[in-house]
């Protein structure tokens, strides 16, 4: 059953990469085969948690031994404006006896206990490798628990060993399609209801965008899943338009919502001034096409004009400071091109970007923007990055937390632009935040100090000079 689901996800027609593949390639799926001893990155369970855990009022219960939750909980910056239940880590903490005798009864008791104690609107149950191997049927337990307890209990069948984080994102999307979306009707609907998919409100980014939607008159009916509430996610099928923020990860959800409920979707980004404006324009145009009042477009243009002039004015002071500063950009997918335009707008020079997680479309887009000479690295080794930085080929590296030490150990400024970051970079205000952070780190006085040789490294002449 799980195999069917994975195969289905691999067949995704909404995915451009997939469309270009032969039938045989498709069957192999989009998970690159991992090389033992030289692999990095999260597993499918990790990917599923990333997508679903931001649903803040639900309980998220991990069915597995302690490693899956004990080593990983409380490590993401997804923010909630209300319920904080999603930050509580629940796990069945499977023991040796559960591995031998099966963990299904324990799982049911765990669901029951947390429903009694916390009364969440729903419980998400995550399958992991060990119970998948021993054959715990979490779907059956969830179904039974849902009937007994009168609450939605959603099985998320995405054990780590089936593949990468990206596959886990999609399997989480499948769980939403199968068990959640379409199960709750909104109290009322409006012609401007939208659903945003793939936005996780990291560092509160959604809150830099939502006020603009409110002002234009667009109602955010449902966000999957940043600052999410279970009921809102379950109402997503009543949206008029869907926006896909991270197209690769959840393309299956957007496409199937179109197929099932006739909701058109588009791909957009909140990063960078022009991308942000494009997103607002596309969203309003599509809403109007589906019957929303035409005045929506004027209001959007008004907001865009005001915000753009404001943001350019606010970015002006950075331009001379950023003149000639070279950036190495290491991030995946959509961000690889949307960040490029955002940073160049602020006067920075982008040396190149990694395209490890980007689609062919993403790559084409960068090529169109930047020309053939622009570096697109598919698989750059940490050692090579270190060398580039140590040789003073860049002034700052921007990447995810795991690669920060490549830059810091080379004594080159570094900025976190991935999930663990503490600052919000989305929307018009976000790009100003980003430039402020870049400027803060570039102009920090430590760089000159830490590159000084130690007293025992400097020659005798400099010692004499210092003494005089």
């Amino acid at each position: 059953m799980l195999q069917d689901k994975i195969q289905d996800v691999f067949n995704e027609p909404g995915c451009a990469t997939n469309q270009a593949k032969s039938a045989k390639e498709k069957k192999k799926g989009c998970t690159k085969s991992l090389k033992p001893g030289a692999a990095a990155g999260g597993c499918a369970y990790d990917g599923a948690m990333i997508v679903l855990q931001p649903i803040a009022d639900a309980a998220h219960l991990v069915h597995g031994p302690i490693a899956c939750l004990g080593n990983s909980w409380d490590n993401r910056g997804s923010k909630s404006s209300g319920s904080q239940l999603y930050r509580t880590g629940f796990t069945t903490d499977l023991s040796e006896l559960d591995v031998i005798g099966g963990g299904e009864k324990k799982l049911y008791r765990a669901i029951k206990e947390l429903v009694q104690q916390y009364d969440p609107p729903a419980v998400f149950v995550y399958q992991t490798c060990v119970p998948a191997m021993t054959g715990d049927d979490i779907a059956a337990v969830c179904k039974f628990a849902a009937q007994k307890l009168g609450k939605p209990v959603i099985p998320v069948e995405s054990p780590g060993f089936v593949g990468s984080k990206n596959l886990g994102n999609k399997l989480a999307g499948e769980a939403l399609l199968e068990h959640v979306i379409g199960t709750v009707e909104p109290d009322y609907t409006t012609p401007t209801d939208v659903c945003i998919i793939g936005e996780y409100n990291l560092a509160g980014e959604l809150w830099l965008v939502k006020p603009l939607l409110d002002e234009i008159g667009i109602r955010l009916l449902s966000c999957i899943s940043g600052d999410g509430r279970y009921r809102e996610v379950a109402q997503a099928h009543r949206a008029r338009v869907t926006m896909m923020v991270c197209s690769q990860a959840l393309v299956n959800v957007g496409r199937k919502m179109e197929e099932r409920y006739g909701i058109p979707y588009f791909e957009g980004s909140f990063y960078g001034v022009s991308d942000m404006s494009d997103t607002l324009r596309t969203m309003t145009r599509m809403l109007v096409e589906r019957g929303a009042d035409k005045s929506l477009i004027d209001r959007a243009e008004g907001v865009i004009a005001r915000e753009e002039s404001r943001v350019w004015r606010r970015l002006e002071p950075y331009k001379p400071r950023f003149d000639g500063k070279r950036v190495l950009l290491f991030t995946g997918g959509v961000k690889s091109w949307s960040m490029v335009s955002a940073l160049e707008g602020a006067g920075l020079t982008i040396l190149g970007t990694s395209t490890k997680k980007s689609t062919r479309e993403d790559k084409e887009r960068i090529k169109k923007m930047k020309g053939e000479e622009f570096h697109q690295w598919d698989d750059l080794k940490p050692r090579d990055i270190y060398k580039m930085l140590a040789d003073n080929q860049a002034d700052i590296m921007m990447s995810g937390g795991r690669s920060q030490f490549i830059s810091l150990k080379a004594k080159v400024p570094w900025l976190d632009i991935n999930q663990e970051r503490h600052h919000a970079y989305a929307g018009y205000d976000g790009i100003v935040n980003l430039c402020e952070e870049i400027d803060k780190t570039l102009s920090n006085p430590i760089w000159g100090q830490v590159r000084q040789p130690a007293p025992w490294e400097s020659g005798p002449s400099s010692t004499l000079l210092a003494a005089e």
Binding site: P36, F405, K409
Partner: protein, 460 residues
């Protein structure tokens, strides 16, 4: 009478806000204290990714950690091929001195025979005989972080240490448990070297995890005890075993080499440190150096100054077993009352703890037990619960992701005990000041607070 509540068999089916971390993670930390080592998890790549992120957040250091990347098929058919391929790839790419393998829930559920796989690997790969290989069985579904650390140290002792016909009278082994931070190990080195002795720490996190500046990019651990040094442990005059979870490794070492071992259940506290100093005096035949004498005097003084704030304070402690034992013991030494001692896993030290409630539990248990406590001592994960019940949190253990210098803190020896005494004492002192002056002037920075006149000042 204290009692031990056992979890989860009777209490709860779901662990809520876990205190426990997995065995392979503990094993990885132990391997990171070996020079030019690359720890390798035999399991799905997610196991490695989570462990990596946790250690990076705690130490703020690059963490070398690899995976055999077991997928569904390999899991069912057996993982030897992945293991061999992983080791070969690592040796070819990174040329480590040692690869430390830790199994995971995935490979242990299948029941991979690691002893057999070691032999098979060595037979099939004679070209890699120069690379030390250590395998430890560390299933995720049994034990926890401390057990995994212990398993890896025991595995290294068994695989690498050799008996020696000679004795080097000034060479001392230290089996340093995971409750010792890199800073603690550095402090112990100072103390031991002060007696003219040369310690070999297994593992030695002070050389690898205390903030390094590499000359080039390395994919292996940078610093730590070398494989040759581990092999030479058989020539030492004595072994100092720190922590209950190091006892099995200590016994294995003694059995293999006849080096007599001396067991310490903790090195935090005045009397605990006195015991160590007595042993070092005996082993070296030298008197304690002046610096150590000054440090003892300073600790005694800090105890006199600080005890006012500790007396009958009600404290809940939730840490890995041996650290739990050390900290609870220190707090009791200072006159505080440990109302709850929560451990993530079972351990023999729990029987020896002195606390009103001793249990194997999680952060949600701490939240329940600490409602009327004056302080919680736990890792950074404790902050959510502590905030909910309005009790201050002193951060110790691992992970500490919301503090700088997590790996550098010192809480052993006279100096480390004094640091800990002042850190926790200051929390009480700050609270007393807040309460005393809370009504009149909240934002009067200069308002004097002396904690009940015990500072000897004239302020009323």
């Amino acid at each position: 009478m204290s009692h031990i509540q056992r979890f989860p068999s009777a209490a709860k089916a779901a662990s809520t806000n876990p205190l426990k971390m997995s065995q392979p993670l503990g094993a990885a930390l132990a391997y990171l204290g070996i020079d030019r080592c690359l720890p390798l998890f035999h399991g799905s790549q997610g196991c490695t990714a989570f462990g990596l992120v946790l250690l990076v957040r705690h130490f703020r250091e690059a963490i070398p950690l690899q995976t055999t990347a077991m997928d569904q098929v390999a899991t069912i058919l057996g993982g030897y091929d992945n293991l061999e391929q992983a080791i070969r790839t690592i040796v070819e790419r990174n040329k480590p001195a040692m690869i430390g393998v830790a199994t995971t829930g995935v490979t242990e559920t299948k029941g991979e025979d690691m002893g057999g796989q070691y032999t098979l690997f060595r037979q099939r790969n004679p070209d890699m005989a120069d690379t030390a290989l250590v395998f430890a069985n560390t299933p995720d579904f049994a034990g926890g972080f401390e057990d995994g650390f212990a398993a890896a140290v025991t595995a290294m002792v068994e695989r690498l240490v050799e008996p020696s016909p000679v004795r080097i009278p000034t060479q001392v082994n230290v089996l340093a448990g995971c409750h010792l931070s890199p800073g603690d190990v550095e402090e112990l080195r100072d103390i031991i070297e002060g007696f003219g002795l040369s310690p070999i720490f297994l593992p030695d996190l002070s050389l690898s995890m205390a903030g390094r500046q590499p000359a080039d990019f390395t994919a292996t651990s940078l610093g730590g005890v070398t494989v040759d040094q581990i092999r030479a442990m058989g020539a030492s005059a004595a072994t100092i075993v720190v922590g209950e979870h190091m006892r099995v490794a200590g016994n294995a070492l003694e059995l293999k080499t006849d080096v007599p071992s001396h067991f310490f259940n903790r090195l935090t506290g005045l009397e605990a440190t006195d015991k160590l100093v007595r042993l070092l005096t005996e082993l070296s035949g030298k008197p304690a150096p002046a610096r150590l004498r000054r440090q003892r005097e300073s600790l005694v003084d800090a105890m006199l100054d600080g005890h006012f704030f500790y007396s009958r304070k009600r404290i809940a402690v939730a840490l890995e077993p041996d650290l739990l034992y050390a900290v609870s013991g220190f707090l009791a030494d200072m006159g505080a009352e440990v109302i709850a001692a929560v451990s993530p896993t079972q351990s023999p030290v729990l029987e020896r703890l002195k606390a009103a409630t001793i249990m194997v539990g999680d952060h949600s248990d701490v939240e329940t037990l600490a409602r009327d406590a004056d302080l919680i001592v736990s890792n950074s994960h404790g902050r959510q619960g502590a905030a909910r019940i309005g009790v201050p949190l002193h951060r110790m253990g691992l992970p500490l992701f919301d503090r700088l210098g997590a790996g550098l803190r010192v809480q052993v020896g006279y100096r480390g005990t004094r640091e800990l005494l002042c850190d926790i004492g200051n929390l009480f002192l700050a609270r007393e000041m807040d309460h005393e002056h809370g009504h009149e002037s909240h934002d009067h920075g200069e308002s004097h607070g002396c904690g009940g006149g015990s500072c000897g000042c004239n302020a009323v």
